[in-house]
Symmetry: C3
Subunit: 182 residues, 3 copies
């Protein structure tokens, strides 16, 4: 574990602009879609992965990766807290325009995630969400910046780096997971 | 583009404390005010720019840089979602005091923005917002930390690094911009 | 002050996984609980401290460290803005389950804080909050990543690095502080 390695000298940088495929309005799990476009991440034993969305009407969040109901409920709450139909002055692109900006401000346009042993160091149930606030959006651009320790020390990943496709299909009904205190 | 440069070795640090001029309650575009106090940024080909506001009743966000109506609508929504006049226990400084803390928590006190080719790598319509939640605030302190690749490789900036003053005055009425899917 | 040191070459990394002790639902000041588990921080003159909570139903924020009423009011507002009892689809763990995910998304799961002279560079009244959104949560895991300048230059800290226990007991009634424009 990184906690036993002490202070490690030296740094390196990597930066890449990605496109995320168009999504309908709502909350979408995109951990794997991002990671498969940054295979270089597996080379680094420790560091930080910064992900910036280059738009003002979509956002990034880090939350539940297992139950898609969480993402649907989040979309429901975004619409409840930031409703359409208020007397917005900025309405040139339709009723979903200004609410999208407000939602994007509350959720944020970037994530910074620790890298450990060549993988994003996420909690058991954490995944990266693309929150699409527009009704008819195109592809979304993202800039990924890796600030990492240079040099060896990483082990090759021996399992899938994320759990975008958790083994729910392998057994048991939906919501059968014991998920206390996540 | 940085995405073609591969992994780049070596790092450097730069840190400076800035003052942002006092603003009335509301949302303000401060990209240029910050950047002109950190000219060193233009030296670095790749890195991250971290901006921290040193206060608990103002916040930073990254959103629309073009239409000031968006900023006015955001202030309206902040006041709607976090209203004054609720039974707050912390009210020693007036009705705007506790709502300011709540708003600041939701929007956040720092931004981390990628640096590419000596400039903040922002989307076409993105700019840095100072969100002033107090009625009568003074100057706000900000600490800017640059974590960057050392050494050459950056091109001198050939255009204004931000769009705080987009060419709206150059033609067409307000809101004439085609801004689909930003 | 760091702002007079110019560009500083060289970087180092440190990463540690911590446990924060179980807390009741609400907002809790944990600056000292985190810092005492990362004494290595005092060695570094400049850098960034990234703190990631490894859960999806608790969050981190940076806000008022002095008056506990602010934290109680924040908990009150979280429950008002994201109430229980709505028609959530994800409700397998009880009425506090889905609201916890929404609150965590709005507040965020990580903080990035500048390091200056071996200490977190926080504003006078800023402290790290653990926001516990579940009724019955256990210990919460946190990954702390230090991205710092290597080498000397830090001064040994000459005072407590944070103000989790500000000198309120030393004089005056609660709320006697002059706290204008923080």
């Amino acid at each position: 574990m990184a906690s036993n390695r002490g202070i490690q000298i030296g740094s390196a940088w990597f930066q890449r602009k990605l496109n995320l495929r168009p999504q309908h309005r709502g909350v979408h799990l995109v951990t794997e879609e991002i990671l498969k476009q940054v295979p270089e991440l597996s080379q680094f034993a420790v560091g930080l992965c910064h992900i910036q969305i280059m738009h003002t009407s979509a956002s990034l969040a880090l939350n539940e990766s297992w139950d898609p109901d969480v993402r649907d409920d989040m979309e429901m709450m975004l619409n409840k807290i930031v409703p359409e139909g208020l007397p917005y002055r900025h309405s040139c692109e339709g009723p979903d325009d200004m609410p999208a900006h407000v939602k994007a401000c509350f959720l944020g346009s970037s994530l910074t995630i620790p890298i450990t042993d060549g993988k994003l160091n996420l909690g058991t149930w954490q995944g990266v969400w693309l929150c699409e606030h527009r009704n008819h959006a195109g592809s979304r651009k993202v800039v990924v910046t890796l600030s990492v320790r240079k040099g060896g020390g990483s082990r090759p990943p021996t399992r899938s780096p994320t759990r975008d496709h958790p083994p729910r299909a392998l057994g048991g009904p939906r919501n059968s997971r014991v998920k206390k205190r996540l």
